[in-house]
């Protein structure tokens, strides 16, 4: 997904920008009180409605730790808005709910596309009879989903007007699309009516995508929420206000939205429906299957999401059974016994635990254009690698992450194609060696006991940071690490949104960041280090000819041992250059109330309530 603050334990992605703007702790708590009181009102309302029906309404209540931004898929990049969009809109492809590692499955397409022309032509065939949710924009007529809707939606990602953060996934890939975007930049109006060679609806239900280079990752793009089908009439009717009018073909519709406080989704009555039918891939799946197999989806009538920014407030709400899900985060010791199992008091309540390692990597980058830490001279390599060797990551995991993370050995995390457990990292924790290395390259200690540059110039690292308690802990750890090699370090506080901007402009010297998989392929992580991605996601502005050559070669290959070897070469290259201080992949522990049936954490999908059921009999 997109970069997010490395220090947050549970929060994710760019939504944090909004969090920082929206004014912090007290407001979050206040909002929660409002949300909580609203919640109780709504549940009584729901109950009185039920009297007329036979079955009680199935309501799922959950919390987001960060506010959403809006519901126009290509325009948002935060996890929270994306989650809602995932349930309202539909992609050509999606992922199998149970298969691990994640496996693609058709969504509105009949099957996975035919890939011809050596990985350059993708042909998707759509199901017949999928309809958009009725909306005034359709003039009262049922509106069927067609291939032309995908042509429109894909083109829209490159429309300069909407400034999609996902443009990089299509740029330079689809024949004729870039020319259209260039023209739009000049005229100020994107020409949606011109047919291009790369994106064609060859008939009502067939979409043909032609790529300029062979690319075996395009299916992942087709499964990514920002590339969902939107109806042109709706987008044109609501103009700038599309963020508040999500009209899709998916199983849920937006019922109520109080910005930054509460989102309510309801089952789409016009949804075509689907049958729960997944095959086991791991231990424990059998139970899920026995509970869910053959049920008609979706089963949850209503999803109520409150925005609760303070971790502690969300935790207490879960404790009072006002939320059906909760992460464990920093409350680990309240939940687990010494063996790492659920404590008896939780088991007695029937609470279920779901654990997974997130497909993500945290890292601290060095700015390669910085006069102090940047550059490829031998002494600069030595400086960066000494810094990497001095950082005590095991202590980060033990003390700050409270044991809920595993060290990253490659830029590609565990569970993502291209990760190789056999790879031995080069720059392991070794402050003694780091000191010797700095000595060998002439970083002499001055009178104050701190080192200078070999030419005698002052050596001061500037580490960008925020102001939360957690970030202070990271700063303490970094300060300790740099003291151990006698290097001076200062911490520059800033807002997450400003820091993102500054790092995209290559203005930060060092900063910690994180990346979560958009799709479970190593390419999604290696692109963070690819030279031409400077200004987008390559925040360290790392530009190595050797690395770029490996990366470009890997793009031309399907998933294969040869491509995996290239991933290893890239990893070694970035380690030799000392591009990143590799961090961790975090462990996510989810607690689930006993009335929620069928939950399994998915590495990519986040709106998994589509596949869940609720047993009202078990509710208190």
């Amino acid at each position: 997904m997109v970069h997010y603050c490395v220090a947050k334990l549970t929060g994710k992605e760019k939504g944090l920008q909004k969090r920082l703007y929206s004014g912090g702790l007290k407001r979050g708590v206040a909002l929660w009180f409002i949300a909580a009181s609203a919640l109780s009102c709504f549940s009584t309302a729901a109950l009185s409605q039920d009297a007329s029906k036979t079955a009680p309404l199935k309501v799922l209540r959950m919390a987001f730790s960060t506010a959403e931004t809006g519901f126009d898929p290509p325009r948002v990049s935060d996890l929270y808005s994306n989650t809602i969009n995932e349930a309202i809109f539909e992609r050509l492809l999606t992922y199998d709910y149970l298969a691990r590692p994640a496996r693609l499955a058709p969504m509105t397409a009949v099957a996975l596309p035919e890939i011809t022309d050596g990985g350059k032509t993708y042909t998707f065939r759509l199901r017949h009879g999928i309809f958009f949710t009725p909306d005034p924009a359709f003039g009262g007529k049922p509106r069927e989903l067609t291939a032309a809707d995908y042509v429109y939606s894909f083109k829209r990602v490159l429309d300069p007007k909407i400034r999609s953060p996902w443009a990089f996934l299509l740029e330079g890939r689809i024949i004729g699309l870039d020319a259209l975007a260039e023209a739009a930049k000049k005229t100020g109006k994107f020409d949606y009516d011109t047919e291009i060679e790369g994106l064609k609806a060859s008939d009502r239900y067939t979409l043909q995508v032609r790529l300029s280079e062979p690319d075996y990752n395009f299916n992942y793009v087709a499964a990514h929420t920002p590339f969902s089908a939107m109806a042109r009439e709706v987008v044109e009717k609501y103009g700038e206000d599309t963020m508040a009018h999500p009209i899709g073909t998916g199983p849920y519709v937006l019922k109520q939205w109080t910005r930054g406080a509460r989102i309510v989704l309801e089952k789409n009555p016009d949804y075509r429906g689907m049958i729960w039918n997944f095959a086991a891939s791991e231990e424990g799946d059998a139970e899920l299957i026995s509970e869910m197999q053959g049920k008609r989806l979706p089963l949850i009538d209503r999803v109520e999401i409150s925005i609760i920014e303070e971790e502690q407030s969300a935790w207490l709400a879960f404790d009072r059974k006002e939320l059906d899900f909760s992460g464990v985060g920093t409350f680990r010791e309240k939940v687990f016994d010494e063996k790492g199992e659920l404590k008896p008091e939780w088991r007695a309540q029937g609470v279920k635990l779901m654990r997974a390692i997130d497909p993500e990597v945290t890292y601290t980058f060095f700015n390669f254009r910085d006069p102090i830490v940047g550059g490829f001279e031998k002494e600069k390599l030595a400086l960066r690698r000494a810094i990497i060797m001095a950082y005590n990551r095991d202590e980060e995991i033990d003390v700050i992450r409270k044991g809920q993370a595993i060290p990253a050995t490659m830029p590609i995390p565990v569970g993502v194609v291209g990760h190789d457990p056999r790879y031995q990292p080069l720059n392991t924790y070794n402050p003694a060696l780091a000191n010797q290395l700095l000595d060998a390259f002439g970083f002499k200690k001055g009178k104050d006991g701190f080192r200078t540059m070999p030419n005698g110039a002052p050596l001061l690292l500037k580490y960008a940071t925020g102001t939360t308690a957690l970030e202070r802990q990271f700063n303490e750890l970094w300060k300790k690490a740099m003291d151990s090699i006698s290097v001076r370090i200062a911490f520059q506080p800033g807002k997450f949104a400003d820091l993102i901007k500054a790092s995209m402009a290559c203005q930060l010297q060092m900063w910690g960041s994180a990346w979560t998989a958009d799709y479970p392929d190593g390419d999604n992580f290696m692109q963070l280090l690819y030279g031409p991605n400077i200004g987008q996601n390559n925040h360290g502005c790392y530009e190595s000819k050797a690395f770029d050559a490996f990366y470009e070669a890997s793009l031309k290959l399907p998933d294969s041992p040869e491509r995996n070897r290239l991933f290893l070469e890239m990893t070694r290259q970035m380690e030799v250059d000392g591009a990143w201080v590799l961090g961790v992949s975090r462990e996510r522990n989810m607690l689930i109330r006993p009335w929620v049936i069928g939950y399994k954490k998915h590495p990519i999908l986040s709106a998994t309530w589509i596949y869940l059921d609720i047993d009202p009999a078990k509710k208190p």
Partner: protein, 371 residues
Amino acid sequence: MTEAISSLSSTAISETHGDGKRRGFWSLACQRFRDDGVGMASLIIVAAFFVVVLLSMSGMAASGWNKEVAIHDAPPDLWGLLKPAAPTAMKSLAQRVEEETKNAAQAQSKEALPPLTVTDPLAETLQALNASEETSTAKKEKRASLPFGGDRWGRDVLSKTIKGTQTSVIVGLSAALLATFLGTLLGALAGYYGGRTDDALNWFYSVFSAIPYLLLILAVAAVLQQRGVTTVILILGLTGWAGVFRLIRAEYIKHRGRDYVQAAHAFGVPDRRILFFHILPNVSHVVLVNISILAVGFIKAEVILSFLGFGVKVDEVSWGSMLNDAQSELILGRWWELVAAGGAMALLVTAFSLLTDAMRDALDPKIQRTS
């Protein structure tokens, strides 16, 4: 001439005591203060804190607060009075996955990694270094418990509290001195001269006090961009002078019409002498009381600033940063850091406030006394 004037000024507020002897203002004030039991007790407590600060500044106490002497989150034992439970080690999924991946790597190691072509320009240097010296990673013995417990890195909470006392007291006092100095200077000018000077300074003061205090502090903190004790002192001092200004201005307006000021004028004493040698001693009790009121306020403000992350640097410690550290630990049952920092702060602030009250009572000649 000068002596005559100054004796004139001090007699202005001296009074006749019961025994008929005329005693000076300050000696009377001391007498009243000594009679106040609560005041004396709080003075002793505040003095004790100052001793701690001096010891800590001279390096005789808490110089090693940054050393990790104990295990992570070492529990408190209060010199053997408490029996801390043995810490438990939890095995997380993360550790299990790590073990599994290691096992998997070993199982797979038969089919070795494909050879990599990347060359390491530092390989030779590193190899030479590795060969030349054994890189030792010997672990030091760490204590299982500490008198006041340890923080998450295993640092002694007692030492941190002492060092934090130093930061807090220095910040509180210095900022109070700075703010009082500014407030007194500007208040004196405005009150004495009146007219345009007064208008201009009043306008300036109104603007300052119209901005919500915390926002003003955060704004200055954001502009200064540099954290540390000095910055905090500057922030608090530069934003906290408004109250003193108002009081001192009123006092000067009151005094400028008094006979002794008029007399000094008639003698041709320059304005700055009248301002700071004639009137100032007569309003000094207001100044003194304000310094201590401000000091209490600033000690608390520093705690809030550090708690919000705008306070002291990473390698400094204050009560605020300790409370900030402790907030996420409390729900896990680690209360000692919060109790130590919170307790120390509560004690000093209470004692200081009581001391201020006692001082005001002692210094105010007009207060109604029943005896």
